[in-house]
Symmetry: C2
Subunit: 151 residues, 2 copies
């Protein structure tokens, strides 16, 4: 038995926008990453991309960039290290920190892969005009920051 309710307009608008937001995020991510070779996950790609464009990072910094927990990063970096794409280096000044850096193999790998994913994402976003993409980005930025207390 399906259940239907009268909802306040604000709630209807929010639920509708939320569903569409989530579906767009999932659809685009899935389609754009079809170019990833067998055995490379989206998270691994994201970690390698961050290291390529920002240089070596502490694991906690990497977790911050990817919006993931540090426990998660332990596993992701484990797997990347196992595959010879990154190395861990203990920071000698403060031995609690571990710096993650691309190996030569890892740099070569992500340097070749990134342009393909970028092209794929660009193709996906060609569903929108550049102006629409800018609008979308701005609305998402405001939404991501959350409701701001009145100034």
């Amino acid at each position: 038995m399906a259940t239907r309710h009268q909802r306040p307009p604000a709630e209807t608008a929010a639920l509708n926008a939320y569903v569409k937001l989530m579906r767009a995020a999932e659809s685009v991510t899935t389609r754009a990453h079809l170019v990833l070779p067998e055995g490379v996950t989206i998270t691994q790609f994201a970690a390698l991309e961050a290291l390529l464009h920002r240089g070596p990072l502490f694991q906690s910094e990497l977790a911050g960039k990817l919006l993931k927990s540090t426990g998660n990063l332990t596993l992701v970096v484990d797997n990347l290290e196992r595959d010879g794409l990154v190395v861990r280096e203990r920071d000698e000044t403060d031995r609690r920190f571990i710096r993650v850096a691309l190996t030569a193999k890892g740099r070569k790998f992500i340097s070749a892969l990134f342009p393909q994913v970028a092209a794929s994402l660009t193709h996906e976003f060609s569903a929108l005009t550049l102006a629409e993409q800018a609008t979308l980005a701005e609305l998402c930025r405001k939404l991501g920051r959350g409701p701001q207390p009145a100034a």
Copy 2:
């Protein structure tokens, strides 16, 4: 060593919009679901919500609504069934199909929970005006459908 590139404007716009889209989706989802009680995951909530508002569904239909694989749904429904929130019923006309339905306990549970999550989402989206929410929904809809071949 960070790497910077000259990019075509279309690529810059797409990458920027993509990052903001993903961050917004993750941030809003995380914050809005903080109201979920201990032990209920976002996926379980989504499955129960679909059953509440659409009535009993086949597992494959549920997978379609949630954009998840059927293998995934097997586990999700397993856990919901274990907790007494849903039941599986073999379809007698075509015994390949399994219908998933809320139990009385499950209906009571999700009926009480949904309004809280809806209110939480509505609060998150109050970062945007209703017009902005409508714009966001429309842009996401176009993006989710993907680039359409020229008519």
